[in-house]
């Protein structure tokens, strides 16, 4: 458990620091376009991805993918360079923050559109008999897209090994979930006969997510059947870049409960400082390589 705590902390803290860095680079004008960070939701990325078999499983994500991407392959340099539009980015700077690909990891910037694609990937892996399962991450707001339900239906009909992870961070851009989603999100896959798991808001931390994801992954792999996992998190940062119209006291309250800070407290201070220092050092090295004027990684393309 201590080992897992360290591992999870290192991954979550890496994600946190990378995204804070991206926001800073953005405000410095070193990157442009848009940046959606998962501050406060790192537990989703780390809890789910660590429940997978990184060698063979297939992952689809969305516009808010940095956490998933780092938890998957730990390619911090490739990510930052990509967001910065450098040739050393994982997609040569072509994709940018919303359009990432590496090995079995894929994202796109169209809400919901990747869900049937993931469903097809699950069908391909099943057909190949690879034993791989497919995971697709969605936000609460994305549950407004019809193609998600088309995918539920097909995944259930065909018994596809796919895990739908809905990260309900309570908002879609500026819209609170209550204004965009009728009824109960946790019931949305039920009428398709899809087994469902939930991590309640009060339970949301990396261990709860990890346990829930392990159960889900075991089910999906053993039964070759879909599973719907609803995680109730909270987005601590703005939707993207700057402006945030939410109630400040609401945000502050949630910062008090930051899952990463809570996890940090479970580590001996010295260990934690060592990990933090290593992450800072790594980040500095990467940033220097990417942004140092003379660096070959700094090639425009």
């Amino acid at each position: 458990m201590q080992n897992l705590t360290e591992t999870f902390y290192r991954q979550m803290q890496t994600i946190r620091r990378v995204e804070e860095t991206l926001l800073k680079l953005f405000s410095q004008g070193k990157i442009r376009g848009t940046v959606h960070t998962c501050l406060g939701q790192e537990a989703t990325a780390v809890g789910v991805i660590n429940a997978l078999d990184r060698q063979r499983d297939v992952i689809f994500s969305n516009h808010r993918a940095h956490g998933h991407f780092i938890a998957y392959g730990d390619d911090v340099a490739g990510l930052i360079a990509e967001v910065a539009g450098k040739s050393s980015g994982v997609c040569g700077g072509l994709g940018g923050t919303q359009h990432l690909h590496q090995r079995n990891f894929y994202t796109n910037g169209i809400q919901g559109g990747i869900v049937p694609v993931a469903t097809g990937a699950a069908a391909a892996e099943k057909r190949k008999g690879s034993g791989a399962i497919t995971v697709v991450f969605l936000g609460d707001g994305t549950m407004g897209e019809g193609v998600v339900y088309e995918s539920f239906n097909i995944a259930a009909l065909w018994n596809l090994p796919i895990l739908f992870v809905v990260d309900n961070n309570q908002y879609a851009q500026t819209t609170p979930v209550i204004r965009a989603q009728a009824g109960r999100l946790q019931d949305r896959a039920v009428p398709f006969g899809i087994k469902t798991g939930v991590v309640a808001a009060e339970d949301y931390d990396v261990f709860s997510v990890y346990q829930a994801a392990r159960r889900a992954v075991t089910y999906v792999r053993d039964q070759s059947a879909p599973y719907y996992l609803l995680l109730n998190s909270y987005r601590l940062g703005p939707h993207s870049k700057g402006d945030d119209h939410r109630d400040e006291s609401e945000i502050a309250r949630h910062w008090q409960n930051d899952p990463l800070a809570r996890l940090a407290e479970q580590l001996p201070p010295a260990r934690r400082q060592a990990i933090d220092a290593a992450i800072e050092q790594r980040l500095q090295t990467i940033l220097t390589a990417i942004f140092a004027p003379a660096s070959p990684l700094n090639a425009a393309h």
């Binding site: 848009t34 539009g85 700077g93 072509l94 897209e145 819209t175 989603q181 119209h245």
Partner: protein, 339 residues
Amino acid sequence: MPPRPLTYLAALQSALHAMMAEDERVIVLGEDILDPYGGAFKVTKGLSTAFPHRVWTTPISEAAIVGVANGLALRGMRPVAEIMFGDFITLAADQLINHAAKFRAMYNQQVSVPLTIRTPMGGGRGYGPTHSQSLEKLYLGVPHLHVVAPSLFHQPGELLRRAVLLDDDPVLFIEHKSLYPAPLPGPNDDFEISAIDDGTGYAAMRVRNAADGPPDALIITYGGLSLPLAETLRHLAREEVAALAYLPGSLHPLNLAPILADAARIGRVIIIEDGPEGFGWSPEAAVQIYDAVGPQLTAPIRRVAARADIIPAAQHLEAETLVTASKIEQAIWEVLFSA
């Protein structure tokens, strides 16, 4: 006369305010359009405060947004739906093509569908392949679907007003992202601007730069490219090259008849579009000219468009892909020195 709105964005904003105040049937709907945010590009800013019962924020459901707007229009409202990025208009293709554009004709004129879909198109901001496209070409040539794109030289609010209050057919209303912050030129010394009635109901703009003498080149374009075009026209004037530009407000239906005589007289025509080259708007524009006055042209029509590729996120790659002021100017020079 009210004071001229300062920017393209402000013109659209105040047109929406005025229409909602004037006509109870106007309903505005879309994602994240409520105050204080007021929409991703702020076009609906202030509306939900002023008209809380007629500004509806929606789930992320582009097909249903347009579908709901269709139903509103069929039942007597004049809905204005916003699609947050033009890239997502693909999701509403069926509602636009097989529903909005068909009802009136297939029900033998017994209904009308006075629907306006507003959406921002275009790149230049590093949003990457799925948030930077100019996808209006998909919807050009769909019978009974009007596609309108005000340029900087238009009164964008007036075009929007016509789409919403006066056009009884569905209108896809294209706003280029780069135009929002741009100040509308208004009367000034750089350009001689006149509005031409091309029969579509949406004025075409005829713009002369400030160089003397008969124009050496005719540039036909629309929408967002009016921004680099304005720059180019000013620059050409400084080089003493007289140029005429023509910017239809209605992309479809497209009627270039009013500019054919100029095309024949000038003989050098450049057609520019923001979308990827191949098919799309400029071939249609070009054939209208070739068919009518082809033999009078001095040189083949020169077309400029984006590269037929994804729009990269990286700034320098994006600029290589899209049409820029320097590419426009280079094309003009090449045509001027050809033949």
